[in-house]
Amino acid sequence: MPPRETNRVGICLDPTKAVRCDIIRWIAVTKGITSMFEVLEKQALNPTVVRMTISAPLIARKAEPGQFVILRAKADSERIPLTIADFDRATGSITLIFQVMGAGTIEINSLEAGERLQDLVGPLGKATDTMGLKKVCVVGGGVGCAIALPIAKKLHEQGAVVHSVVGFRTRELVILEEEFRSISDEFKLMTDDGSYGEKGLVTTALESLINAGNQYDEVIAIGPLIMMKFVSLTTKKYGVKTIVSMNPIMIDGTGMCGGCRLTVGGETKFACVDGPDFDGHLVDFDEALRRGEMYREFEQHERETACNLFAKEAR
């Protein structure tokens, strides 16, 4: 490759390097980097899970599976971390899939297509490392499937054999089934109550796949903490490397608050900058489960307040 031609201040003058034009075009189009974040599409995937596509060219340009954003719906909203479910570099949009469960997500869900989020920052955290993986079992639980899907998709696109195991409480909560099927070499859908797919937990399906002789380079598990804990316990028995995606309480997402700290292999790690992916065999899940409850009462109160508020508005 010929040396890059630059001027005195290092501005790339090589027209084949398109980065500069891209950024400038986006800034021109959006009249400033942050005056955007418009909701382009919104769709309910099940009674409590929503898919939202948002205009965010700078984030879409950089996003990789496994990374997250922090957003605020309104000027006085909390900062909420959500993992990026999909991105489209061409249209400059990202997709988020989230469960409407706290005051913050209720507020995000109150925005309709055409409205704008107050703040959206990212992509944060490290991308999931899929390099060199040839055969992987991706395990998703509940809304965690939304985050597992782009990783499974990336693995599939790079030619890896992808087995997917997804679990839900019951049939009406199932999301992204078709999307998973289309990129999986093997697909298992589990429900706790047996109302759809097979009855049982994801660990049962995973264990039967392993017992059937499947040798995975890695298991990637994303879902509720308790699910990731038991997936890790299961794979530990078989000595299969397991990556989990942690989603603890955080404020800034850039390493400043320390609220997202976890114990991993006896060391303190910050999920926002050191993760969110960690070796599931090293994560202290019991501690993470306890820390996750820190504001439970507060959140419950806030959720009730928010629900009442929206109920009132709806009337």
Partner: protein
């Protein structure tokens, strides 16, 4: 020449009574009146060597502005301040004057120094509230500079460059500009309205602030150059909190001071009806002895904690906090347990903090910092019953930028290495200053670094234009 005021004492600062203010978040000190300011200004001898100016990291012409206050020319005084500092209302409130300008004041030979900080604050406040003289944007010189981080160093650098015609864009990771001025320092010490107005002043000068952009993630330093910025100033601060690595630090109720203060200040948990979760504590131990520790302790008191301890491993004399903050904290009922070091945080079966186990310390020989080294006294363990522990033992620079910028050298603490005063890093056209270079320090030192870097950037760009 107005008549000198030879009183040995500083004109006292009107202050909210301690037992009132420790239940509210309104500003503790109320500021001088016009009369008080004019009278205090007359205590300045306008001495020949003006040692105060040399002790000011941004080199304010201190006797110059004070003489104008003495002559009751407040616009003129503001004009003098404005030449050297873009944020006088902030400096007047948060600078450690006793170790800088006021520490060198000749009036200290006998009695108190001149109340330089209080006068600076008065002039800035008066100007903000009464004057309609607005800063004017300069004629653009056609050059673009990017600043990373809208904290004290970045804003100062941006302001100085904008004043001489540069098009400056400041990129800020959070949703609001101000850095530690908005997420760290509490409302009762530095009202956010004042920060906002000083930043509005910069915007009037033409500084553009882009919030919600994390350099190192959303954009990289290299991309900033590709976007046409000719120099980059990194003022990303030291945001990464340290913990002690003692047992129990992951219990519920243990906060980093950053998290605690961010929830209260940036996310407004101090406002009644706020939706930001924060623990309503009964008894709190704040570990550390700096300004951040004082801020956290005083916030905890205001949020209703009955007992608040400062736990610090050295003695009262070694507390690194500003003198005024220590005095205010004491007046407000914060209990100082100095020469005490935490050994473990203890919790109940549900994982909530119940107490902190501490050990008493004695002082040994001076260590590398010149301060006497604290040594554990054997068998002196005791516990303090608390439900919250706040770790305020310092912060390190955030690694995001240097991890994503090739050729940017850092030391073993993660601080960016610069060539000294100019702030030039190991990367051409990339400058850095403030806590990201020095590790956690003060607002004014960061401002000084921003100022020096601005002048070095100007010299470089003008030099190369030749």
């Amino acid at each position: 020449m107005p008549e000198r005021n030879m009183s040995l004492q500083k004109t006292p600062m009107p202050t909210q009574p301690a037992e009132v203010r420790n239940h509210n978040f309104e500003e503790v000190t109320l500021g001088y009146t016009w009369k008080m300011a004019a009278s205090e200004a007359k205590r300045c001898l306008d001495c020949k060597n003006h040692p105060c100016v040399n002790a000011c990291p941004v080199g304010i012409d201190i006797p110059g502005f004070i003489q104008r206050v003495a002559n009751e020319d407040m616009d003129g005084a503001y004009e003098v301040l404005n030449r050297s500092t873009a944020l006088p209302a902030i400096c007047g409130r948060v600078c450690p004057q006793e170790t800088q300008c006021e520490g060198m004041c000749v009036r200290k030979a006998k009695g108190d120094s001149v109340g330089i900080g209080r006068l600076e604050r008065f002039v800035a406040d008066w100007h903000r509230e009464h004057s309609d003289v607005q800063p004017q944007p300069s004629v653009p010189n056609g050059h673009k500079v990017a600043v990373i981080g809208a904290g004290p160093s970045g804003l100062t650098c941006a302001g100085d460059l904008a004043k001489i015609g540069y098009k400056v864009t400041v990129f800020e990771a959070l949703h609001v500009a101000g850095g530690v001025l908005v997420y760290g320092i509490p409302e009762f010490r530095l009202p956010k309205d004042i920060v906002r107005k000083e930043i509005d002043g910069l915007k009037t000068l033409g500084v553009e602030i882009q919030t919600d952009v994390v350099i190192g993630r959303t954009l990289t330093v290299d991309e900033l150059f590709e976007m046409g910025y000719e120099a980059v100033f990194i003022g990303s601060g030291a945001g990464l909190p340290r913990f002690m690595s003692i047992p129990g630090e992951s219990l519920k109720g243990v906060y980093s001071a950053n998290e605690y203060l961010t929830r209260i200040n940036l996310m407004k948990a101090y406002l009644p009806g706020s939706r930001t979760p924060i623990q309503r504590s009964h008894a709190v131990a704040v570990v550390g002895g700096g300004n951040v520790a004082m801020d956290a302790a005083r916030c905890a008191k205001r949020l209703g904690a009955e007992r608040v301890y400062i736990v610090y491993r050295r003695g009262m004399e070694e507390l690194p906090a500003r003198l005024e903050e220590i005095e205010h904290a004491q007046e407000e009922g914060v209990i100082f347990r100095t020469l005490v070091n935490p050994a473990a945080v203890l919790g109940d079966e549900k994982g909530w903090v119940t107490s902190i186990k501490c050990v008493e310390m004695g002082l040994g020989e001076p260590d590398a910092s010149g301060r006497r080294r604290p040594i554990e006294i054997e068998g002196s363990e005791f516990t303090l019953d608390v439900d919250t522990v706040i770790m305020a033992i310092g912060t390190q620079p955030n690694p995001l930028i240097h991890r994503t910028t090739e050729g940017l050298d850092t030391d073993r603490h993660g601080c960016i290495i610069t060539n000294g005063e100019d702030g030039l890093t190991s990367r051409p056209h990339v400058y850095a200053g403030g806590d990201t270079v020095t590790g956690a320090a003060t607002v004014i030192l960061a401002m000084g670094a921003g100022k020096h870097a601005a002048s070095a950037i100007h010299k470089e760009i003008m030099g190369s234009e030749g």
